[in-house]
């Protein structure tokens, strides 16, 4: 039995290494639905603060922004603290105007020693790369089904 274990160990030893060197040799692990840092569409947000109400980690607060936004007369937009955020995606799910998205930026890409850099103002949130968007509201929102299935 010990011999067979040794043979098996050598077999596993000859396989390619399972661990990867990130980010030196390979890119971070990504999937199509990875829930990461947010993107805000400032042309859609009306400042209803639904995201702030539903956030379980109190990572969102509404701040005033300079500029002219016809759909948002009070000019109040969400500011997200990515250090507090648990990336549950409830803000995306509950946004009634489809203004918040999530991207695949997560993990060590957000790692920082300075917590001020993870406190994203609305303008910083709106400058995210839309090609990285992974989670949209229609993926999470409830389809209208009668109770009972």
């Amino acid at each position: 039995m010990v011999l067979s274990t040794i043979v098996k160990s050598i077999e596993y030893m000859l396989k390619r290494p399972y661990t990867r060197l990130v980010p030196a040799k390979s890119k971070p692990f990504k999937t199509e639905r990875l829930r990461g840092a947010h993107i805000l569409d400032m042309s859609k947000c009306t400042g209803c603060s639904m995201c702030q109400l539903v956030c379980p980690a109190n990572a969102i607060d509404m701040v005033e922004v300079e500029g002219n936004y016809p759909q948002n007369p009070r000019r109040r937009f969400p500011r997200i603290d990515l250090h507090k955020c648990t990336y549950c995606g409830l803000c995306v799910e509950y946004c009634p105007f489809n203004a918040l998205y999530m991207t695949s930026i997560t993990g060590f890409e957000l790692y920082t020693r300075d917590k001020k850099t993870t406190l994203k103002t609305p303008l910083e949130l709106s400058k995210g790369d839309p090609s990285l968007i992974t989670v949209r509201r229609e993926m999470l929102a409830v389809k209208e089904v009668k109770p009972g299935g």
């Binding site: 010990v2 098996k8 989670v135 409830v142 299935g149």
Partner: protein
């Protein structure tokens, strides 16, 4: 060396099962009594959930067990289904089963690392982590996160399953089975492992059940006690599987039962995956305010039976949330029963603790 000593063991000891301490009373080498020192991880989860609303309290429901979060997620979702009096679609029920079973396998694969570490067999433990990693990758692909998934919610599951779901899931079950067979052969067949675990930490199933334990500790002692069979939740009554049991009830039998359980879990997943089809409804909308009432759920997690009791007084938040974890009796009554009835030396204590597989964050919450 004779004489009585008092020794503190943990929470920073590599042999301790996580962040928990013990005050051991020794007579020579023999451990006579172990007094648990919990509280290093207390964060007040139940109270935090009561201060949140129905729609976001579930985010906290599974965060106190890193190794096996999905059983808790399923338990809380099921309790809230009863509070809101909704019946989730069939697809959601089958998906929750797959989720819970994969979580059980991932937890047992993590346990291999503790067990192998305490007996000095490090090599197969790393193979087991490959199986766990593949499962976590599957979770990231389906739900979006690796460890905490936020996927089972009141009213069903949170999103549609991705394309090619059944194929990849079945492929994964065979991959995991191959690795688990290798690990089982290398670990349970090893002479050193047998000598370290045979006859160490013996407890019979009926005794363990009376002392408050559930799960593999009871089944290792030869008692066929499994919540999935006694009080089937989700769709466990529609799938066929066996309850593996041990004979003697020692550490070796508990290890054996855990490996057998993995094969049964894979069997359940292969049956349930056929019922999860794309395009079918997966979630029922639940209202923002709950009617007054209560919800109660029992689930069989990797460590034993979790019970969740949610009390609603109407309104936007739960009035009271109560979790009962399976880990507390393992480290108090069951451990002290073993210490009283056999000679457990201080060298055997890490093996006994690892074979019980407690989860300290569960105890503290």
């Amino acid at each position: 060396m004779a004489g009585s000593y008092t020794v503190y063991f943990g929470p920073q000891h590599p042999g301790a099962p996580g962040n928990i301490g013990f005050k051991l009373e020794l007579e020579g080498e023999r451990v006579v009594k172990a007094e648990l020192i919990p509280g290093f991880l207390h964060r007040g989860f139940e109270k935090m959930m009561e201060n949140r609303k129905w729609e976001n309290s579930y985010v906290l429901s599974y965060r106190f067990c890193v190794e096996d979060p999905d059983s808790l997620e399923v338990a809380y979702a099921e309790a809230l289904d009863k509070v809101f009096k909704v019946d989730p679609p069939e697809k959601a029920k089958y998906f929750r089963m797959i989720q819970a079973e994969f979580s059980r396998i991932a937890s047992h694969m993590f346990w291999v690392h503790f067990m192998a570490g305490s007996t000095g067999l490090r090599t197969p433990a790393y193979w087991a982590l490959v199986a766990r990693e593949e499962i976590l990758k599957w979770f990231a692909w389906v739900t979006g996160h690796r460890v905490y998934h936020d996927f089972s919610v009141p009213g069903g599951i949170r999103g549609e399953v991705p394309e090619g779901f059944a194929e990849r899931t079945i492929q994964l079950t065979y991959l995991v089975e191959d690795i688990v067979k290798d690990v089982e052969k290398a670990l349970l067949g090893n002479r050193v492992f047998k000598r370290r675990t045979r006859g160490v930490g013996v407890i019979k199933g009926d005794v363990a059940l009376k002392l408050g334990a559930t799960g593999p500790v009871v089944r290792g002692g030869g008692l066929k006690y499994d919540t999935r069979k006694i009080a089937p939740y989700e769709r466990y009554d529609k799938v066929s599987f066996e309850i593996p049991v041990g004979e003697v009830g020692d550490s070796y039998d508990r290890a054996l039962v855990r490996f057998r359980e993995v094969y049964e879990s894979l069997k359940i997943i292969r049956q349930a995956v056929l019922e999860v089809r794309r395009g079918e409804p997966y979630r029922v909308k639940v209202p923002l305010t709950a009617p007054p009432g209560r919800g109660y759920a029992r689930v069989e997690a990797a460590r034993g039976e979790y019970t969740v009791h949610v009390l609603s007084a109407g309104g936007r938040s739960p009035y009271r949330v109560r979790f009962k974890s399976p880990s507390l009796p393992l480290l108090t009554t069951v451990l002290n029963y073993m210490l009283e009835n056999e000679e457990v030396t201080i060298a055997d204590l890490p093996v006994v603790l690892a074979s019980l597989d407690p989860c300290p964050p569960d105890i503290d919450r």
